[in-house]
């Protein structure tokens, strides 16, 4: 009887126990039948019954021996590869180590998937919330815009009134210019009158000279002096008339100017001042409205820009989280060849058992599969700089050379 191989020959032990149990059971039953049943059947059937029992017992022993030689032999043959000193346990232990590695990695991957999945859902929820706030804000802005539309229409009316006012100003200025031009003409007329007076004055001087000459002759002919005196009186009359005319003209001019300024011109001027004041107030109102509008749009743009920045930040973080899909893909990609190698080794073991070949190459192969998978995983070991002391903390996730 062979000794169990080193390692963990549980299967070998089970086979041995099963075979021993079957043989001893049959032998025991045969002896039991011969010994225990013979006293019971002997009084009934006589010696032939005991003989039958002996035959049965012998047959049982024969069957057991036969089984030991045929069926038992077959069982022994089936167990040969297991019973032989084998390196199967080493192969199996390596494959179990590989399984442990893969299970550990799959567990990590599952946890990380859950973490990133949760993170993505949170990011999306945050995005939806921020988008909703932005939409609310834009809806408020829409309401403000509607209100401002009324203000803009009012402003347009004021602008139209201001335009009409300004448009009317040239006509008014033209009319006033004509008035002043006329006044200038009348002043020129006064200048002509002044010229007449000057002429009269010259003639008066001449006559005075003549009068002086004639006076020298007073003694001889006083009549000539009286002629000069008459002429001087006429000149004086003309001078008076001219003076009166000047006075009247100036008076008329004064009245016209007075009526112009105190009447129509004053009225128009006051009207214009009032209209200008009204339009100025409206213009100030428009200006205030525009300032308010500008402030509103500045606030709105600030809020929209802020929301947009937050949205961009949330989107970029979400995009960063999506990268885990590639990390997961590569982790699965590394699992696949390891599982393939594991399957190949199992198949090779079956072949080796059937052909009773040496399992040593499979021991090497399985050990290589384990070390390759472990080394490959080590190369892709997660780096978590945010958790000092954790696995891979000595390596940075970002390194600039």
């Amino acid at each position: 009887m062979s000794n169990p191989p080193a390692g963990a020959p549980a299967l070998w032990c089970r086979a041995r126990a099963s075979r021993a149990f079957g043989g001893f059971t049959i032998a025991f039953l045969a002896v039991f039948l011969v010994v225990a049943l013979e006293p019971l059947v002997a009084p009934l059937a006589g010696g032939w019954a005991a003989r039958i029992l002996q035959i049965l017992g012998a047959a049982s022993v024969a069957v057991w021996v036969g089984w030991r030689g045929t069926a038992g032999k077959q069982l022994v043959e089936q167990e040969v590869p297991l019973a032989q000193p084998s390196r199967a346990p080493e192969v199996l232990q390596n494959l179990l180590r590989l399984d442990d590695h893969m299970q550990e990695r799959m567990a990590e991957t599952t946890l990380t998937s859950e973490k990133y999945g949760t993170s993505m859902v949170e990011s999306l929820t945050d995005l939806v919330g921020r988008s909703g706030k932005l939409v609310d804000y834009l809806a408020q802005a829409q309401q403000h815009s509607d209100a401002m539309q009324d203000g803009i229409e009012s402003n347009a009316r004021v602008n139209a009134e201001m335009a009409a006012f300004v448009r009317a100003l040239p006509t008014q200025i033209s009319e006033e210019r004509n008035y002043f031009r006329q006044l200038l003409g009348e002043v020129k007329a006064l200048s002509a009158i002044a010229g007449t007076i000057m002429e009269i004055s010259k003639r008066t001087d001449l006559l005075a000279l003549n009068a002086a000459i004639e006076a020298a002759r007073v003694g001889d002919a006083g009549a000539g002096f009286s002629v000069v005196a008459d002429e001087m009186r006429r000149l004086a009359g003309r001078t008076n008339a001219s003076a009166a005319e000047i006075e009247q003209t100036i008076s008329q001019l004064s009245q016209r100017v007075e009526s112009k300024f105190s009447g129509e011109f004053d009225q128009r001027s006051h009207s214009n001042e009032a209209e200008a004041e009204r339009l100025l107030q409206q213009a100030l109102t428009i200006d205030e409205s525009q300032v308010g509008m500008r402030q509103f749009y500045q606030v709105m743009m600030g809020a929209v820009t802020g929301h947009n920045t937050e949205l961009n930040h949330a989107i970029t973080e979400l995009l960063g989280t999506i990268q885990y899909q590639d990390v997961l893909r590569q982790a699965i990609g590394r699992l696949t060849p390891a599982m393939t190698a594991r399957g190949d080794i199992f198949l090779a073991m079956v072949d080796a058992w059937e052909s009773q070949s040496d399992l040593s190459p499979l021991v090497e192969q399985s050990a290589t599969a384990v070390s390759e998978y472990a080394a490959n995983e080590l190369m892709h070991q997660p780096v978590a700089p945010s958790a000092p002391g954790s696995r891979g903390s000595q390596l940075k996730s970002v390194e600039l050379f």
Binding site: R329, L400, F401
Partner: protein, 121 residues
């Protein structure tokens, strides 16, 4: 607007990095492997920055870095990969890489690094 070439065989990664950089105001070109990226560079495309994966079909990231460095002497090249261990980093550094980023990299972190190696948008 500065231009960045993103090289990765994962469509998800390309989408993630491209989206982040475009939000940040950069123009982004993409390639699905090192060979395709190198073709673009040889055709005259001169990005201001290259961000490349390491494990890719046809031509891996280390080879791309080595070849790209011959064409673009001063262009920063960042490796963005799941590989985290030092030997590979050293290999990339020797090939001419500017930095090493381990996936996944958050959007804000990525923008910070890009602005660091590519000042002035």
């Amino acid at each position: 607007m500065k231009s960045i070439l993103v090289v990765d065989d994962s469509a998800t990664m390309v989408m993630s990095v491209k989206g982040t950089l475009e939000i940040g105001g950069y123009k982004v070109e993409t390639a699905a492997d090192g060979e395709m990226a190198l073709c673009k560079l040889k055709a005259g495309y001169k990005p201001d920055l290259i961000i490349t994966d390491i494990n890719m079909p046809k031509m891996d990231g280390i080879s791309l870095i080595r070849e790209a460095r011959k064409l673009l002497r001063f262009t920063p090249i960042l490796a963005l990969t799941t590989e985290s261990q030092q030997p590979k980093r050293d290999e990339a550094k020797k090939s001419g890489a500017t930095g090493w980023l381990v996936k996944p990299v958050g959007g804000a972190d990525l923008m910070k690094i890009v602005k660091q190696v590519l000042p002035g948008i």
